[in-house]
């Protein structure tokens, strides 16, 4: 049988004085490698297993470390055993000979072998030099720290959010905790594959147990500020070296889900630690996708309005116009469920539900919208209600009230975004032909100039004249 014998392995470790810590690190490495490539490394970079330069076959100073074929053999044996419990189990693996075992011992006897944790948000009271405080949703906090060994496996397991305005031009720090074996210090960096940039090289010190504690690194050349609102999957490829002249060696590649918003989220969202109204990453998934690429608040709110109106998951309650998702507080949890394909609280919504959804998502990106009403009992022009494609006057007459996302003081001179219905876009909204126009950033207006109010209501005593802005009703409903 090819490969090493168990007795050789025991002898070699005794001869090298291999410590229990080194054995444990090697076992952890070969047991947790997700695939053969994680053992063989990324060519032409060295590591994670490197060649001991003074020992080996051939006349090369550096000859082969563990390649992909042998790495696969190791993975196969691991599968058959259900996991390695002792390094002697590396015996009888085809292609895994003395040189490669020697390289394995060499690589991990003096190494930075672990990224233990990463904090992107380490200062909960500021957002200028680090990430936002976030949580997953109403009932589930975000992981803290953002990334942890053994816990964070997918991109979604490690959420991170930054606000463009507050971080533009500022140094962005992250705090990283590492483990080493046989080293008191080493240089560490990370190569990023996207707009978060890389992590600058830093000298890290380790205590006698090999722990670094949390040490501060800085992001190098992040580019997300230029791309506006977005969500990204980001990988950071962590590396170390002992001397500045040594080649870099691999530690691990960590995965993160990056959300970028325009500014610090406004109410109902807060940055208060422990609050259920910290920005929800479940909501950021929707908001960042719908407003992707927006670089200003008007564009962001417009895109949210457009995408909500066209989402195909809700339609207007043409029977009673009832508020289905809550009016004292807004059941955003159930609306997210609905938007993501679940039942939620049903397909039917009214203007209050729509205003809540659009404003809550837009404010998550840093927009500054309110939910506010216009009243009362006013006639309407034909409109296209959300989820439909026909022109009709709702309920055959009009609305008892209407509620929309509204800017500023929510008065006639402020602007509205209405994701609930399309109004007539031409010069005569009262009659056909009709040109659909989704109201975004539209002046509410009076009853003389063609703005939102005259597009929504006919210019009659029972139409526009009854449709008054009610700024006293403006609010930002708490979310549940």
């Amino acid at each position: 049988m090819s490969g090493l014998t168990a007795s050789y392995i025991n002898w070699k470790m005794a001869a090298e004085g291999t410590t229990a810590a080194t054995k444990a690190i090697i076992l952890d490495f070969i047991n947790t490698a997700p695939n053969a490539a994680a053992i063989a490394g990324i060519e032409p970079s060295e590591g994670p297993v490197v060649d001991e330069p003074g020992v080996g076959y051939g006349d090369q100073v550096r000859d082969y470390d563990i390649g992909i074929t042998v790495a696969q053999q190791i993975i196969s044996k691991r599968s058959s055993l259900g996991g390695f419990t002792n390094l002697t189990q590396l015996s009888n693996i085809k292609g895994f000979g003395q040189d490669k075992f020697n390289d394995l011992l060499y690589s991990f006897s003096k190494t930075v072998h672990e990224i233990s944790a990463i904090q992107f948000n380490f200062n909960s009271s500021t957002i200028t030099n680090d990430a936002l405080n976030v949580r997953k949703n109403y009932s589930t906090p975000s992981p803290s720290p953002s990334w942890s060994k053994g816990v964070s496996h997918t991109f979604a397991d490690s959420p991170v959010a930054y606000a463009i305005k507050e971080t533009q031009g500022k140094p962005l720090g992250i705090r990283v905790s590492l483990k080493a074996n046989g080293l008191s210090a080493a240089f560490v960096r990370a190569i990023g594959d996207g707009c978060l940039g890389s992590v600058n090289e830093q000298l890290v010190t380790f205590d006698s147990d090999g722990n670094s504690g949390f040490q501060t690194f800085y992001l190098q050349n992040p580019t997300f500020h230029a791309n506006g609102v977005n969500a990204y999957n980001i990988s950071l490829r962590w590396q170390w070296r002992y001397l500045p002249t040594d080649p870099w060696r691999e530690i691990v590649t960590t995965k993160h889900r990056l959300f970028v918003v325009l500014e610090s989220p406004t109410l109902p969202w807060v940055q208060t630690v422990g609050s259920t109204s910290l920005p929800w990453t479940d909501a950021l998934e929707i908001a960042c996708k719908w407003a992707s690429g927006a670089i200003d608040k008007v564009t962001a709110a417009t895109r949210i309005t457009e995408r909500y109106n066209g989402c195909g998951r809700v339609s207007y309650d043409t029977i009673s116009g009832a508020t289905m998702y809550g009016w004292a507080s807004y059941n955003f949890t159930q609306m997210i469920n609905r938007l993501n394909g679940g039942p939620g609280l049903g397909e039917k919504v009214n203007c209050t539900d729509s205003a809540n959804t659009v404003s809550t998502l837009a404010n998550l990106l840093g927009c500054d919208l309110w939910q506010s009403r216009m009243e009362a009992n006013f006639d309407l022009n034909p409109v296209i209600a959300i989820g439909y494609n026909v022109w009709e006057v709702p309920f055959g007459s009009g609305f008892s009230y209407h509620e929309v996302p509204w800017t500023g003081a929510c008065t006639e001179v402020d602007h509205i975004y209405d994701g609930c219905l399309k109004v007539e876009g031409d010069a005569d909204p009262t009659s056909a032909p009709h040109v659909p126009l989704l109201p975004t950033n539209m002046l509410f207006g009076e009853c003389v100039t063609m703005n939102y109010r005259l597009r929504l209501c006919p210019p009659t005593p029972t139409g526009c004249a009854r449709c008054h802005a009610q700024p006293g009703t403006k609010k930002r409903r708490p979310i549940i």
Binding site: I319, S320, P343, L345, E347, F399, S400
Partner: protein
Amino acid sequence: MEEWAANTTVGRHIFNYNYRMTDTTLRDWELVNVVEAENEPGLTEKIYIWEKTGSRGKTLVRIGISEHNDWRLAQAQLQSHLMHSTRPNIPREFGKLAEIGDVIFACQPRDAKVVAAAFFTRGNVTVTVSSVGETVIDISNIVSMLDRALSETPSTQEIKKGLAEELAPRSFEAMKGETVKVIDKLPEPVARSGWIKIIAPDGELRREEDSVVYVSSQAGEKKVGQYWIVH
């Protein structure tokens, strides 16, 4: 609301506590979502989303149930529901559902003669039932079933079958206007065990902290029925 109150007779002396729907309450329907939301401080509404079996999400009914300390508060909540509906002048129901609840409002779609949304109270409970799927349906049967569950005295047959249990009734002499405690302490709500229904011969029932009290409208001997309804 004063008109509603003036016309409320039966509901004044009916009290339900911890009414819940279970996944077998509606035959041929699947309970796909249950949400308890505290929409206002101290007020929990239970919302049930039912999907017609085989409809693939196109036929959905939303049922909202909120319990209050007394029938007046239930009617106040009903008014809140109506005030947060954009349809002007949601009509009082005077058709086939006119006898439902203490006060009932119902809506039909423009192109069909079916009741597709209803808002009513029965005693201390406010109920909303709405067709909320792509396919609009008649919810009359569901509304009727809910009102019967909240208002009718369990039949002898139901008691024999174990679907209801008559708790020791309270029988006593009462003066007009006298307040009598009929339940000293309501049990903690338990999700699936059942609910309590109290029916008095007259007067009013209301909750005061964890007790239920009866206020007699006439002097005489009174028997207040208390029932444990199994889900």
